[in-house]
Symmetry: C2
Subunit: 321 residues, 2 copies
């Protein structure tokens, strides 16, 4: 158990909207197909640099409080390879001198960051940590792969973590994760590294697009995640219908809806897929921000955070708000 408390959250979604109707003809499907298959009614399209989106969400999460003493970028989309994106987010926030680095676990980056940076805060390495996820999947959509192209959207979210004050019970109660490299080709962006170097004549332009075998990844991940999630809540003395909130990675409409089929309460399941699509690592903290602003949300509530990512990885956590 890590004695940490999420003291602030923030979100930034671009103003520009792309509806299922607007996208349909570009991917050779109907708007109805998009809505049914992916659950995405509309998504946002980035209209500002990635670091400014992240900084906007971060400012909201920081509120009137002091600056953070560490800034951790927990995103998949990089601005450039060197320096890492955390440096640009710090600059966009107008800070200088704050230790900054990045954690990359694809769609699970925020959840892995919450555990990892939570450990740093719990053990006294830092006192006020800023986590920022900022993603623009739009330019990397493969319009020939209708399903993933219809899922991806742009957005940013942030959270500020501090040690839990004496007498309060906020905590990261549990965290579980597994990674299965047998699924490493199920969700890929092959560019951006040593494998697909754009100046080499044999490079394939498709290497610079996101490709996903959605059905295969869903089948693998659903079972694997259940194997982690149900023992975790049972060991905490909880049942699906006694968990106060479920805040999943917004992988797809059916992917989020699967939590209802598994017995969690729809009224306490945060589902932003229809409005924003899958914003990669930003999806989960965007949903956490939404939960934090629901009138029913109270300190002490139990929250299941869960998701899947390329790798294939699955992870879940139990947070006491």
């Amino acid at each position: 158990m890590l004695r940490i408390k999420v003291v602030g959250t923030g979100i930034h979604v671009p103003e520009r909207v792309e509806t299922a109707e607007q996208l349909a003809s570009r991917i050779g499907r109907s708007a109805e197909w998009i809505r049914t298959r992916t659950g995405v009614g509309e998504r946002r399209i980035a209209d500002r640099p990635l670091e400014e989106m992240g900084a906007s969400a971060a400012r909201q999460a920081l509120g009137d409080g002091p600056p953070p003493d560490v800034i951790v970028n927990v995103s998949t989309t990089p601005i450039q390879l060197i320096p890492d994106t955390s440096v640009f987010i710090q600059h966009a926030l107008g800070y200088d001198g704050i230790p900054s680095f990045s954690i990359h676990a694809t769609c699970l980056s925020f959840l892995v960051g919450l555990h990892t940076v939570g450990s740093l805060v719990h053990s006294g390495g830092y006192n006020r940590a800023l986590l920022v996820s900022t993603e623009t999947g739009t330019p990397f959509r493969d319009l020939a792969e209708a399903e993933s192209a219809a899922l991806l959207g742009d957005g940013a979210a942030a959270a500020v973590i501090e040690r839990t004050p004496e007498g309060e019970e906020s905590a990261l109660l549990d965290f579980r994760m597994r990674t299965w490299p047998t699924g490493r080709d199920m969700a890929e962006f092959r560019g951006g590294g040593i494998r697909a170097q754009p100046w080499l004549p044999q490079h394939d332009p498709n290497d610079f697009l996101f490709r996903m075998k959605g059905t295969r990844i869903y089948r693998l991940a659903k079972g694997r995640l259940a194997e982690l999630l149900f023992p975790m809540i049972a060991e905490a003395g909880l049942t699906p219908d006694s968990v106060d909130w479920v805040v999943p990675h917004q992988m797809s409409g059916p992917g989020v809806e699967a939590f209802v089929e598994a017995g969690f309460r729809r009224a306490r399941l945060i589902n932003l897929v229809n409005r924003f699509g899958n914003c990669i690592a930003a999806s989960l903290p965007m949903a956490l921000h939404e939960m934090a602003h629901r009138p029913e949300c109270r300190r002490g509530d139990t929250i299941v955070l869960a998701g899947t990512g390329a790798g294939v990885s699955v992870a879940c956590a139990l947070l006491r708000w």
Copy 2:
């Protein structure tokens, strides 16, 4: 203080050697200039995939012990953007199901990883963590920028961290870091992300090469690092000549030599620049492996780890072996 112990280290250097003499004509300088300016007599050139280099170092670090319960890639060079490199390292090791992710802080990735993953181990999140740095800077050298092209080399290194057993005193005693985005253009690779998309007509091929303003970064980083390092060792009751080992990032020959000028003992300063150049994030754990195999190295020794990275970031740590 984190009660962690480095229980194993490993290294992999490619067999293929490129000497200063072989590189000289390609960068329009003499071998003598390379040796004097950068301290690099020769470097290694990768002849195997990045993940196999990392797996080779990891196997040595793991030794006869059990598999790790988390694998963290702490490197700058990615294989591809999605999934992150940790997944490919796990696959090359023949494992499946071990949680894996990446930490990116450019040349400081291993040091940030030691602190971050050390916190996870200290606080009980994991019991046996594998950190792997694997780097191939060679394809990203800008031969028109003689200094950085003469510095970069390829290599990999790994370390395994466990909680310190009762009765032993191994620990990460201190860690300090600062990041100054005012220096974000001093060391850059502008490709690999949203900024320089290779399929756009306006992209610049130079964006896919590493560029460094060596003199500016050295001047900024040297003073900033001193401001962190000397208070850290003084607060621990140490002086430069009483520290048992100095294990720096191998930024350059003069960069490593600066620790002697600052009063640390040359005989206890690990300098691999002449043999291997600057292997980005792998440099520091390569030097740690070298230290661990010196006959004078004993459990209980005090070790200064220190370095600079793109950002500009500076960091230092005090480790009791």
